[in-house]
């Protein structure tokens, strides 16, 4: 697989919009053409070659090195190919992506996978608020695809999420699954207050019992749900460690809710977490 490597050499003045840097968009370009690409930062634009050291050959794999929080919209609109990101990219990573893979070695900002419609985002670090959330003015959040965060996540994970899978291997902030429409969110660490608030459908899997279960969720008992091995089977090809942790939910306490919004959603507490109440 051919690989193009772009290493951020100069700190941008103002926020640097990296949405144009997609493997498919650069594929077929010569390195000179790549260097001449204009990238917007703040109110100005610069040639890519003035900001990045360019190595390799454009193809299916694009590596972005040394990114900072000023680098926004990394992989926005990605449809195919692989983006390898190192550093700590800023907000809206993978915004509206519909295919391909983004692998981040570092932390990412707010709005990871905002309005996502497919593909895979793996962040080997922590992320900010509104992972898999909705775009400004939209009525639905993430509508397909998978986001795996090995660290912690901020508030409103999966806000108005419609479909797909978000796994937070660390802690998540308040309002996880806020007004969720459907889909699946897994939190293996501690989950902040108001989990599942306004949830219509969908599944929140919590490995740790929240300090207080929401008042609008009702317990239904503990079950061995047949769907859990299917979830683990899907995840195993992406993240074996996560797949093993899903085994913790082989027996889960099911809470129905949000009863103020139809009650067709669910919070599944891993049996160990449920026993600890």
């Amino acid at each position: 697989m051919t690989r193009l490597e772009l290493t951020l050499a100069a700190a941008p003045v103002g926020a640097l919009d990296l949405a144009p840097l997609l493997p498919a968009a650069l594929d077929g370009m010569t390195l000179d053409q790549v260097r001449r690409l204009r990238l917007r930062h703040g109110t100005r634009s610069s040639a890519l070659g003035d900001l990045f050291a360019v190595n390799g050959e454009p193809g299916e794999l694009l590596a972005l090195r040394g990114l900072t929080s000023g680098c926004l919209r990394v992989g926005a609109g990605l449809t195919s190919g692989t983006l390898e990101v190192s550093g700590n990219p800023g907000d809206e990573l993978g915004r509206e992506m519909s295919g391909g893979t983004i692998l981040v070695r570092g932390n990412a900002g707010d709005g990871v996978g905002l309005g996502m419609r497919g593909g895979l985002i793996r962040v080997q670090g922590s992320v900010g608020d509104r992972v898999g959330g909705m775009l400004p003015g939209a009525t639905r959040g993430m509508n397909e695809g998978t986001i795996i965060v090995t660290g912690d996540a901020g508030e409103r994970v999966g806000e108005r999420m419609r479909r797909g899978l978000i796994a937070i291997c660390g802690d998540s902030g308040a309002y996880t699954g806020d007004r969720m429409l459907a889909g699946t969110i897994i939190v293996l660490g501690a989950c902040g207050p108001h989990a599942g608030a306004g949830m219509r459908r969908g599944t929140l899997l919590l490995a740790e019992r929240p300090a207080q279960m929401p008042a609008t969720f009702n317990p239904s008992g503990t079950f061995a749900l047949t769907i859990m091995p299917l979830l683990a089977q899907y995840v195993v090809d992406i993240d074996r460690r996560l797949a093993r942790r899903i085994a913790d939910f082989s027996r889960a306490e099911r809470w129905c809710g949000d009863m103020a919004h139809g009650g067709k959603g669910e919070i599944l507490l891993a049996a160990a977490a449920a026993a600890g109440r």
Partner: protein
């Protein structure tokens, strides 16, 4: 041509195009997977009156099933896509959904999509839950022992029905023992089912009847009790004939099942098998011809 002293007729089995799917039925343990699969494939010996031909293809280990539980692979064959959809819905709905701890999944990845749990989900009366993992949608339907999980779609492929061979033996006991040996061997072949009871049929039929309302009737030329009354296909020493009908996903599977089945039927000493033949309609009705001698070369 002879195998272990048994004459192999220079003839062929005539078979027909069908539509088929493979379903995987799982449950808490092998016993309940078997209950569900057996119920689902019951009354499915012939499309003539059953709507479909169905049977158990093989037992699956937990490592071979989508949900990691013991399972059974089932094959269903029909003459049309519409009928296949109807049979899947009725049989899974009445026999698998109802069976304790069961779940049902597509057993084929290729082929034309056809509904599996897509309509059965409505049994959940609005409480059903959709889960989509990796392009596959599953329905979780609440039932009294927990949840019935069913994949939304399965796949339909072109298949073949009506492969067969006839075991002509000196008496009923010899014919039955030979047929049992054949079925045990044929059950190891993937992609085929033998849809009749125990895999064996004793009422081989011909097309048409003296009675206008019947489209098929007994194959009188192979009935030993009629040897003195009709221009029989049977020699004086033949006392019983049994047929094994084979439905398969492709010709290679039926070839292999036929080969291992005939060889097993002819195995042993004092087996009492006199001839192996096959059922056909002169070659004018079915486009697939399974020539016994070519298969056994």
């Amino acid at each position: 041509m002879k195998i272990n002293g048994v004459a192999i007729d220079n003839t062929f089995a005539e078979a027909f195009p069908m539509k088929a799917t493979r379903l995987v039925v799982t449950a808490y343990n092998e016993t309940w997977a078997e209950h569900a699969a057996r119920a689902m494939t019951g009354f499915a010996t012939s499309v003539i009156a059953c709507g479909c031909e169905a049977g158990i293809e093989r037992r699956l280990k937990p490592s071979e099933t989508p949900d990691g539980r013991p399972g059974i692979a089932v094959l269903l064959f029909t003459m049309s896509k519409k009928e296949l959809g109807k049979q899947i819905q009725n049989r899974v709905g009445q026999c698998v959904l109802t069976s304790p701890t069961s779940a049902c999944f597509a057993g084929l990845d290729e082929g034309e999509p056809i509904a599996l749990g897509k309509n059965l989900r409505y049994f959940g009366d609005g409480h059903q839950i959709s889960k989509k993992f990796g392009g596959k949608r599953y329905w979780r339907v609440p039932v009294m022992d927990g949840e019935f999980v069913c994949e939304e779609m399965t796949r339909m492929v072109k298949a073949i029905g009506g492969g067969n061979f006839l075991i002509l033996a000196r008496d009923q006991a010899a014919a039955l023992a030979a047929a049992e040996r054949a079925i045990v061997a044929m059950q190891t072949v993937p992609g085929v089912i033998m849809p009749f009871p125990g895999g064996v049929v004793r009422s081989g039929s011909k097309v048409g009847s003296k009675y206008k309302t019947l489209s098929a009737s007994t194959n009188h030329l192979f009935c030993p009790t009629l040897k003195g009354a009709v221009d029989s296909e049977l020699s004086a020493d033949v006392g019983a004939v049994l047929e094994i009908v084979i439905d398969g996903l492709d010709t290679a599977s039926i070839d292999e099942a036929t080969r291992v089945g005939i060889r097993a039927a002819c195995r042993g000493r004092n087996h009492g098998v006199l001839r192996i033949s096959a059922g056909n309609y002169g070659g004018s009705l079915g486009p697939y011809h399974f020539k016994l001698r070519d298969i056994l070369k």
